[in-house]
Structure formats: C-alpha cells, structure tokens
Amino acid sequence: MGLAAEAQFHVLAVDDSLIDRMLIERLLKTSSFHVTAVDSGSKALKFLGLVEEEQRNEEPSFVAPKTHNQDVDVNLIITDYCMPEMTGYDLLRKIKESKSLKDIPVVIMSSENVPSRINRCLEEGAEEFFLKPVQQSDVNKLRPHLLKSKVKEVREEDQVINLSRNDIKEILA
C-alpha cells in the first residue's frame, strides 16, 4: 500500500445527535470521504478495535504491533464534545493513550464556544476544534491533516517490520 493521494480517506464521525450525524456525513461525503457514523464514544472505540487490542496486549504474540488496526482503516476521527457517558474529550484521551490509534488525527466539534474547553482539547492532541454547525469550509480544512497522517503511516510501516524481527530475536534468544 503506497502513498495514495488518490485513495479515499475514511472518516469516523461520532455524534449522539441523529440530525448532526446526517449533516456531518453529508458534508464529508460531499468532499469525497468515505464515512462511518456512530452515535457514541464506546461504539467508536469498538469500531476502532480498541477493546480487542487491550485484550490482545496481555498475551505474548509474534504479531507485529500495528500502527493502526488493519481490519478497520480509519484516517480521521471527528467527534462531538457533548455526549452522554463518554464525552468527545474522553474519547480523544483514550485514542491518544492507545499505541495503535494515537496517530489518527482527531477533530472535536462543539455547539459551545468555551475557550478553556477548546484549549484542553487542543492540548490533549486534537488537530482542530470546530464550532457547530459545522460548515463546508471547516471540512475543507481536514485534508491536510489526513495527508500528513498518510505520509507518517507509510514511513512507520518500515519501522514496524524491523520491530517485529527484534521481537522474534528476543523471544528466540
């Protein structure tokens, strides 16, 4: 899988409001993104395979650590901030704490313009913070973040192969 400037980017959208999910999905599709929309942070984590990964990390394995879950190729996550149970901020933290997911760019959306909230999210590693209702001009800002992560991903794939060789050496020693 080479650097694909032509490949479709896959965006995972997270919002508990059905109307806002419809909107963000339409906006993203207009920009030719492939979209998966879920209504909660926990569903997002499940989709990203994070739950499974935590279980897998407890067992020794020959499998090379992945930079992303290869079953589910997500290039960007855009999430609402205010959600019941797990906020967008909680989701952001879980993603940044995950070895396999931390390099996926995350964008936060919120209907409320609270500077401390915005700073908190940006400090935690969110790429952008969009005020709702999200506009086409906001979505147009996403592409550079996606391209940046694609380049990083391709470079890291080489490192991943080397790591797994070392792992095997250690285990066999």
Binding site: M22, C82, S111
Partner: protein, 154 residues
Amino acid sequence: MDVGQMQRQWLDYTRSLFIEGFLDNQFLQLQQLQDENNPEFVVEVVSLFFEDSERILKDLTFALDQQGVDFKKVDAHVHQLKGSSSSVGAQRVKNACIAFRNFCEEQNVEACLRCLQQVKQEYCLVKNKLETLFRLEQQIVAAGGSIPMMELSF
C-alpha cells in the same frame, strides 16, 4: 399559475423567511448539500428536526410539571433542542432556547414555563412556514420545474 410564477413565489417566500429571522444561513447550507443524488436531503433533515422537537417539547412540559423540577434535566433537553434547531437553521427557535437556558441556570420555574411557551410558539411558526415551503416545492416539481438556487443577496 405557471412554473415561472411558482418559482418566483418560492423565491419570495424563502426570502421572507430569512428577512423575518425564521431561518438563517445554516438553512442555506442544508440546501447546498442537496443535489441530484440526495434530492430529498433538506426534507429528510427537517422532518427529523420536527420529530425530535416534538419529543423534546413533550419531555420539557413533563419535566417542568413536576413538584421538584430537575433543572439539570430541563437544561439538557433545551441544550439538545438548541443544537438541532441551530443545525437546521431554525434561528428563532434557537434564540428562544438560548434565553430558556439562562432561566434554567437561575432555576426560575415561572420564567422557564414562559420560555417553554415561547419555544413552542416559535417551533409551531417555523414548522408551518417550512411545510408551506415544501408544498410549494412539490408543486414546482410536479409541474416539471426545478427549485431555484437561493442566494442571500441582502
């Protein structure tokens, strides 16, 4: 009425909704997201908004009718309605919700009840207006015409 007259009527009516503040720029954004592949997008989103709003208004009426009003719950409902009205461009409903939230913070039951009335009123108004607009659109399409592209030039 011929198609041209119907289209002009649609344009005038739409413009009036913006001038009177019922709709704001977000509604235009919705229209721009509609195309040949998604010809019903605006109607779909607005229909969802109607369903959502009616449910929330019912919940709000119930919540404010309680002996001990749970203002956190009331605020959560109003926050949701504020969000959805903002997302479809229903400006007057959104503004009524903003005022409502201030009184939730003050925990003022009487004022909240007045706000609820206000929100219900604005919701009914915009619902009627949008249903009229969609009827006009159906007539245009039935007569073989197409919906004009709205431009906000004022």
